[in-house]
């Protein structure tokens, strides 16, 4: 699916200029930056993958876009509005479902959480939650509590929970990192499916090159910290669903792999 096929998603672009983050005081002299001078433009409706080794600051960047972490310098705009706090337009899918889902609520109640906070009427809440529970393939599990679900199912709940609020942007922080390989493949396929159906802008953080290539339209490579930065951006125009065994896939894989072999 090309970008021109979904003009409605053209908005909600993210503009990042000279963005930096440091936890030390600027007056202290020797300032230690986690990320430094990041420039990036993400188009509305795009599937963008941030790829980099552990500790390179990709989660920090994601948390800054989410509004959880404040910036130390530069600009970060969504729809030309400077981001300084979390907002309904940017939903976050966390790596650990156990720490982010509410264990005292059932699957349905978890999915309805954002709607309840917004005081949406019960009937509408129910129809929306049913729709998104079905979209992630959890129908029949509405009344279960998270602890009765497998790791993959919990991540589906997280996904349905954020989609129910209809955010423009999905921020995903290694959401499949803790899943077994087989569940992971299924979830990757379904995520692509959901992205194509919902036209969300997705920023997906991972350290797995294959996962990045299976999902992303563009892949931003982050350098090893400190003062890490996006050093290269690869376009990935391979058609969905992507074939890991194709020569094109392998060629791109080797090119990206070479970045991390120094």
């Amino acid at each position: 699916m090309s970008l021109s096929a979904k003009p409605a998603a053209r908005q909600h672009a993210i503009h990042i200029e000279q963005l930096r983050k440091s936890y030390s005081e600027p007056a202290a002299g020797d300032v230690h930056y986690i990320i430094k001078d990041v420039d990036l433009v993400i188009k509305g409706g795009e599937f963008f993958v941030l790829l980099g080794p552990s500790g390179c600051g990709k989660s920090t960047l994601l948390n800054m876009i989410a509004g959880f972490v404040s910036k130390s310098g530069g600009h970060l705009r969504v729809d030309n509005i400077e981001v300084d706090k979390p907002g309904r337009d940017r939903a976050v899918v966390f790596q650990q479902a156990d720490s982010s889902l509410f264990p005292w609520l059932t699957v349905r109640e978890n999915v309805e959480f954002g709607l309840r906070m917004k005081k949406v009427a019960k009937a509408e809440r129910q129809s929306l939650s049913s729709r998104y529970i079905k979209l992630v393939g959890l129908d029949g599990h509405e009344d279960k509590f998270p602890k009765a679900l497998s790791g993959g199912m919990k991540q589906r709940v997280q996904l349905a929970r954020v989609l129910a609020n209809d955010p423009a942007i999905l921020l995903m922080d290694e959401p499949f990192g803790a899943l077994d390989a087989m569940t992971r493949r299924t979830m990757q396929k379904e995520l692509v499916q959901i992205w194509r159906e919902t036209h969300k802008t997705v920023i997906f953080v991972t350290h797995d090159i294959q996962e990045a290539l299976l999902l992303g339209e563009r892949i931003g490579i982050m350098s090893v910290g400190p003062s890490s930065n996006i050093t290269d951006i690869y376009d990935n125009t391979l058609p969905f669903p992507r074939d890991v065994a194709s020569p094109e896939f392998y060629a791109l894989y080797s090119r990206i792999q070479s970045h991390f072999e120094e």
Binding site: F68, R88, V92, S99, F102, F113, M117
Partner: protein, 258 residues
């Protein structure tokens, strides 16, 4: 020997052994020092028949329950505020950690001066005994709420007040429950002390007053009554936790049996 492994068999055997040991002690040391099970039962019957035992248990239970409920009702919001607001915690924590080492019993005389000889001083003492345990547990619960939960609620549009009500309170419920349950134990300790020193009714008064008549069997009756009172209130509370608060992850001892 499979019949020994049956629960009711092993439990009955255990209690039989306890009774036997108790009786053995009574034979060796004489009924004035250790009244045997039979003598204790006789003393108990005496106290039940003239109505004092039931009345004393009622009075002690009433004091404990009122003080414990009021203390918890004060302590839970206090713990939530201290845990949530950093400035308040900065001031409150050293104070909490100073005062919680002063046992309730140490305050009895002072509370008598402040609140008089009547019910007020006893209830205040139980409230004191309850307050710090519940505050500290609630506070710990608030501090242990995972950051991801708060963040996800916030990015789904929850206000700070909604986060407190819909994320922090439910996450903290198992901690509050444990605190309130532990506080029940200290409440019993406090009330017995208070009734020994300044009361003319209650189980603590019974235990203390029996010395005047050299009725060790009544002392035994008082002790056993206390055990039962604690046991039953704790069971009822644990049952309440399992039935009403199960979705918040409240576990109680009996739940482990399955």
């Amino acid at each position: 020997m499979r019949w020994v492994e049956k629960k009711w068999v092993s439990v009955s055997l255990l209690w039989l052994a306890v009774l036997l040991l108790w009786q053995l002690g009574a034979w060796v040391y004489g009924p004035d020092v250790i009244p045997g099970p039979w003598a204790t039962a006789r003393g108990g019957r005496e106290l039940v028949e003239d109505g004092t035992l039931v009345q004393y248990i009622g009075v002690s239970l009433y004091r404990v329950l009122i003080g414990w409920v009021l203390g918890s009702l004060l302590a839970i919001p206090a713990g939530l505020i201290i845990g949530k607001v950093n400035v308040v915690r900065l001031f409150a924590e050293p104070f909490l950690n100073f005062i919680r080492f002063i046992p309730p019993i140490a305050f009895i005389t002072l509370f008598l001066v402040w609140f008089g000889i009547g019910e007020q001083s006893k209830i205040a003492l139980i409230m004191y005994a309850t307050f710090f345990i519940v505050v500290l547990n609630t506070l710990t619960g608030v501090m242990s709420v995972e950051e991801d939960k708060i963040r996800s609620a916030r990015s789904m549009g929850a206000s700070e007040w909604q986060i407190l009500l819909h994320v922090i309170v439910p996450s903290t419920i198992p901690y509050i429950f444990t605190g309130v349950r532990l506080a029940m134990g200290t409440s019993y300790m406090a009330i017995i002390g208070a009734e020994m020193i300044a009361s003319n009714e209650g189980v603590g008064y019974l235990i203390w007053n029996s010395r005047l008549f050299f009725r060790t069997d009544w002392i035994f009756v008082g002790l056993i009554s206390l055990g039962f009172m604690g046991f039953f209130t704790d069971r009822v509370f644990g049952w309440f936790g399992r039935k009403v608060l199960y979705r918040y992850g409240v576990v109680s001892v009996a739940a482990h049996r399955r």
